[in-house]
Amino acid sequence: MPKVALFVTCVADQVFPETAAATVRVLEAAGVEVVFPEQQTCCGQPALTAGEPGAAARLARHHLDVFDSRAFDAVVAPSGSCTAMVCHHYPELLTDGHDRAVSVAARTYELTQYLVDVLGVVDIGARLDTTVTVHDACHGLRNLGLGSQARRLLEAAGATVVEMSEPDTCCGFGGVFSFGFPEVSTRLADAKLGHAATTKARYLVSGDLACLMHLEGRRTRVGPPTSPEPIHIAELLASGLPA
């Protein structure tokens, strides 16, 4: 039985623990044993995007201390952007410790990537009788090549996937950008929510909690309540698993 370490991400840990719990359920339903290294904190992405690579590197070294271990086969995160931080940025960020970064990066995956590309599993036994539309979060799409994996998982569970216009256009979160440039950030959220609403889907599914937090935050502010509900793919799949 494969054994993975959950890289929970600070956002899931502190704000959306139900997403992390759902991630564990989904992995277990796929036949994976999940362990949780309790020493983990944060991958350091906020510091890097703020322009402070030194601070980010400090967290990166700690992250590698936690996850550079043979106690598990892989590291899985319910987030394309945090996975991309490790896979795309860590090797450059750590000039000493480069090899360790490359080695951990090679074993770190986003959830849908792990299920479909590594395990070869598309049907985890979830059953969903609903319509969904998918937002392709930027880092997952452009740094990790994600896209088809989420759709295949959803379709295998019986969900109807309706594509929105511009599914791969940024939702407007962008980390510090959402605070530094709130007007453009909000405009992009409105555009994304508008495209999703046109599909009349029940759910707006994504693999990144930051995007979802931003879109849901805007949706609850301006509505309408009938518009597609932003939800993490782990939570949606877990809701379709037998109790």
Partner: protein
Amino acid sequence: MSAHDGHAITTPGADFRERTASAVADPVLQQALHNLDRRFRTASEAAAAHPGRKERAAAIRRETLRDLDGWLDRLEAALTARGVHVYRAATPAEARRTIVDLARARGARTVVKSKSMATEEIDLGNALVDAGLTSIETDLGEYIVQLAGERPSHMITPAIHKTLAQIRDVLAAEANRELPVDREALTEWAHQRLRGEFLRADIGVTGVNFAAADTGTLVLVTNEGNGRFCTTWPRTHIALMPVEKVIPRLADTGVLLPLLTTHATGQSLSNYVTMLSGPRREGEADGPDELHVVFLDNRRRTLLGTKYEEMLACIRCGACLNVCPVYRNVSGHAYDAVYSGPMGKVLTPLLSGGAEGTDLPYGSSLCHACSDACPVRIPLGDMILSLRADVPAPQSAPRRRRRVFWTVWSRAWATPSGYRATTAIGRISRGKVPGLRAWTATRDLPRPARRSFRDRWAEEHR
């Protein structure tokens, strides 16, 4: 921490933010920007097509950058052998002086200009006017913004920010009569007016899209025919060439030209491509008597050997502007720089030596649509992120404040106990942290969960 919506820890200055906020709130601009959706689609389609061609183009551009000085020397030799006069300008001031002196020495009165971002970069228009010359932009979009007293807002479509009605107003004011809001009529008026300027101009000034080092050939890409006019009718042609425009071989244009045009406008080739190898020859009825080329450096060669070197591979197609979620919603003027969009976010702080545009790299959601769209594979998203660490200068006050904040944060979060302590504070304060007004003005913010995942896990697995 600053009361200014968290800028102390996020962005060094508020100017770019304010301009983007105005742009987003401008209904006429937003209406005009919808027209750019078509270019978004063509740029996206071009990005997905011809991957092999992009690899070859990227290789040609990097081959050039590996020995830029060598290729420039070869280009100069080939041009000189064709009777072209070559000048090297290290700074915008030198370039302006060279061109103005050439114009004065020939007793010129009128200059017609074909679209050239490089001439914007050195602010040539004003220099010519100050020297007592008349300088007319002949690309229709450039002509419109020139009359309006504005900068171009897009490198390929300079007046993209204007609706047809606004364009009519600008042209009618110049015509000093009524003009209808009709493309054919406005184009016909501009055609007649600018035809007169072409025919009496003493000097034609253009940029250069590519310059082939093996044959000493200048390549100009246009749709309207103004580039052809500027290089055919006036007695003198002056071309301003940023140093990175050199390519090793004329044959390379077979790969580079279609890539440029498909990514710029979706055309498999621009309507006109002019390949100039020297001035008019004996017995030819038209063409300039003299051809002068000014190589412009303006700090470009300082990028060589740095992580930003690949920015010089840019072929100025504008695809990154067309796919950028920020650019598409604010247009070029919000950047307050000659070069806008993702490539402008990178070039502006670099070419100005950190004097300008230092807040531009922060106005990006780092989505990397630009990196994907770039036909010569410049890692624009990575460069934009990198610049946040490099500009403004590390010793400046905003940077020091920022560094202190993130150092403290990272020291706390590099240990589980520090992380627990600070997140406990967050929970107790119910998420009310100063600087969050930027978010909460338009969006709801979730509260931290009562019990973190790690606490749940610890309890469940005791």
